[in-house]
């Protein structure tokens, strides 16, 4: 079996007396798309924050290809190949769509400290940014400020930013939240494409069951911060305990 690219060991965070993520140990492998499900407040986004570094773990470890990232800043983790898209749209609002993506490309290329050459002369950066615009079908709005885009396009830009980071680990937090029916497939196709590249590891928080079924290779269930179930989609969805806490008992929800 392929060795895991991302491992969390007993990953825990406490806010005062509340344990938001409770000793979650899990390994993720390249070529595998894991969907993380759980009721609201189960700790899914907090778990993501611990992996990508927005929050510091109270105990436990995060390992990427065997390297301990637990004490690193988000930017350092990004350089180790951890990429993260956010549940609430989290862009650079007054910068243009192209500039938003170019920033991510530029970070990946490690060019942030270039002080003198005008940005426009880094044609390679712009060309690469434009490829991601095309992939996410945002070319037409390239020069608009991100804040001026409709919600669906902002969600796509959120995904484009993550893609432009070219990480090894892709973490999507409800990428289709609030998206209209016609926009959602664009984003899901993109995720499916990333999954086909067997070197990438994909983590996806998602509520919509049709999305989960279409994409998941594996499902893990969080409940009150703890890992409740972990397995193949059919198995997990069929398990009694999962249906009780998360899917409810009604048959049609499953």
């Amino acid at each position: 079996m392929i060795p895991p690219s991302l491992v969390t060991e007993d990953l825990t965070i406490r806010f005062g007396g509340h344990v938001a993520v409770d000793a979650v140990s899990c390994a993720f492998r390249p070529g595998e798309l894991t969907v993380i499900v759980g009721p609201n407040g189960a700790g899914k986004t907090t778990y993501f924050n611990l992996i990508s570094g927005q929050l510091a773990a109270s105990s436990g470890r995060v390992l990427k290809d065997g390297v301990d990232l637990t004490r690193l800043s988000p930017s350092a983790r990004a350089h180790h190949g951890i990429g993260r898209a956010f549940q609430l749209t989290n862009l650079f609002p007054q910068l243009s769509v192209l500039e938003n993506i170019r920033l991510a490309v530029q970070a990946r290329a490690g060019l942030g400290w270039r002080v003198f050459r005008p940005v426009a002369r880094f044609t390679e950066l712009t060309a690469r940014a434009e490829r991601y615009l095309e992939a996410t079908r945002l070319t037409a709005v390239a020069h608009q400020p991100a804040a001026a885009l409709p919600h669906g396009d902002q969600r796509k830009l959120e995904v484009a930013l993550l893609m432009a980071m070219e990480p090894d680990i892709y973490m999507f937090d409800e990428p289709t939240a609030g998206m209209s029916i016609d926009h959602a497939p664009d984003v899901l196709d993109l995720i499916a494409e990333i999954k086909h590249d067997q070197s990438k590891t994909v983590l996806l928080v998602e509520h919509k069951m049709d999305v989960v079924r279409a994409l998941a290779d594996r499902i893990i269930v969080l409940h009150n911060g703890a890992l409740l179930a972990d397995g193949a989609p059919d198995e997990v969805m069929a398990s009694r305990i999962v249906r009780d806490v998360y899917l409810g008992t009604s048959e049609d929800a499953a």
Partner: protein
């Protein structure tokens, strides 16, 4: 920015070019002593305001210590010129010492406090600036206290120096302008300012400039896509401090006097803030426009009002309102109107003309 190709942007850039040309030919265009003082002050303040805009407009860092760095540069050069005589070695040593002290302070303040919330950072810079201000007025022996220090600039800039000698043995003139040390002094200030401004312009257009804007727009996301926000902030804080320090040094050479009022007081800090807000934050062009308007108003609004009061002398009430002593009152009203009608500053607002409408 997504507004670099608008008609408004073209207007602003044309205006800035015109200002640059006016400053380049200032000694020939405006042939009186006071006008040259104003032109030199404008050059210095363009640099000072632009370097402050790197912090507040581009990166979103609020600092009240910018005059402190300006003052350190000015005092460094002034003290060296006073103690060592008016040689270029004194200029070099004083300027470098000022830059070194500015850099040390900027690194210290940056590393200690750029991690904390913006408001605390602003308070820390305010405290540091107050300490330096008090030190400058207390260390009488070195700084001359409240009186400041007068000294001689390098002899190249002395009014008696003849750059070119005419056939009659007197100083040559060109278009009626004496080719003397005063002229050399002005061009020294102008070229120094131009070089510093172009440096900052290049910087804001570089990949680094885009990272600064990203930090201003969304610090957390900038960190998440892989930029070490604290490092970038500290870096830009240091650069701005060094530029301010250099501006202070060249102002000290020009004025041949350095005191709290010309180099260190909080009144200058407030001027800088007003210039940045009026010109428009986050564009280097705004710094130019803000500095020019504000310095012109400070020097000429009185004269203008005297004219207006004279012209309206026969009318009731008006001449009293336009009394030159009330110039600060009118300056205040102009500021309020400017901020009201140009919410993003003059350059910022005009550059949006003709841009696709941006949701906020």
């Amino acid at each position: 920015m997504s507004q670099t190709r608008t008609t408004g942007a073209l207007i602003v850039k044309t205006a800035v070019l015109a200002i640059g040309a006016a400053l380049l030919f200032a000694p020939f265009l405006f042939q009186d002593v006071r006008a040259l003082e104003v032109a030199a002050r404008i050059c210095i303040f363009i640099v000072l305001v632009a370097s402050y805009d790197l912090l507040i407009g581009y990166t979103g860092i609020v600092s009240f210590a910018h005059t402190m760095f300006f003052g350190i540069g000015a005092y460094g050069t002034a003290i060296a010129l006073k103690q060592m005589g008016n040689g270029w070695d004194a200029v070099a040593l004083g300027t470098l010492a000022g830059m070194a002290l500015s850099l040390v302070l900027a690194v210290a303040i940056g590393l200690l406090s750029l991690r904390v919330k913006a408001i605390f950072f602003a308070m820390i810079t305010l405290a540091a600036a107050s300490v330096v201000l008090v030190l400058a007025s207390q260390l009488n022996q070195i700084t001359g206290g409240e009186d400041g220090i007068t000294y001689r600039a390098p002899s190249l800039f002395s009014p008696a120096t003849q750059l070119w000698q005419g056939a009659d043995g007197k100083v040559a003139t060109l278009f009626g302008v004496k080719m003397n040390g005063k002229l050399a002094g002005y061009y020294f200030v102008f070229l120094t300012s131009l070089a510093l401004f172009v440096f900052m312009l290049r910087m804001t257009g570089s990949p680094l400039g885009t990272v600064l804007k990203a930090i201003r727009e969304n610090e957390a996301r900038a960190e998440a896509i892989g930029y070490r926000v604290v490092a970038y902030r500290t870096f830009v804080f240091c650069i701005a401090a060094l530029v301010a320090s250099l501006a202070g040094s060249s102002y000290a050479i020009w004025l041949k006097y350095t005191g709290p009022d010309t180099a260190l007081s909080f009144a200058i800090m407030i001027d800088i803030l007003l210039m940045v807000v009026i010109g428009g934050m986050g564009t280097m062009w705004g710094a130019v426009i803000g500095a020019v308007l504000m310095v012109l108003a400070q020097y000429y609004l009185r004269d203008l009002m005297e004219l207006a009061a004279g012209a309206t002398a026969d009318l009731p009430v008006l001449p009293h309102l336009l009394e030159p002593d009330r110039w600060l009152f009118w300056l205040g009203i102009i500021f309020i109107l400017l901020v009201y009608f140009f919410p993003a500053g003059i350059a910022g607002t005009i550059m949006r003309w003709g841009a696709p409408r941006a949701g906020r």
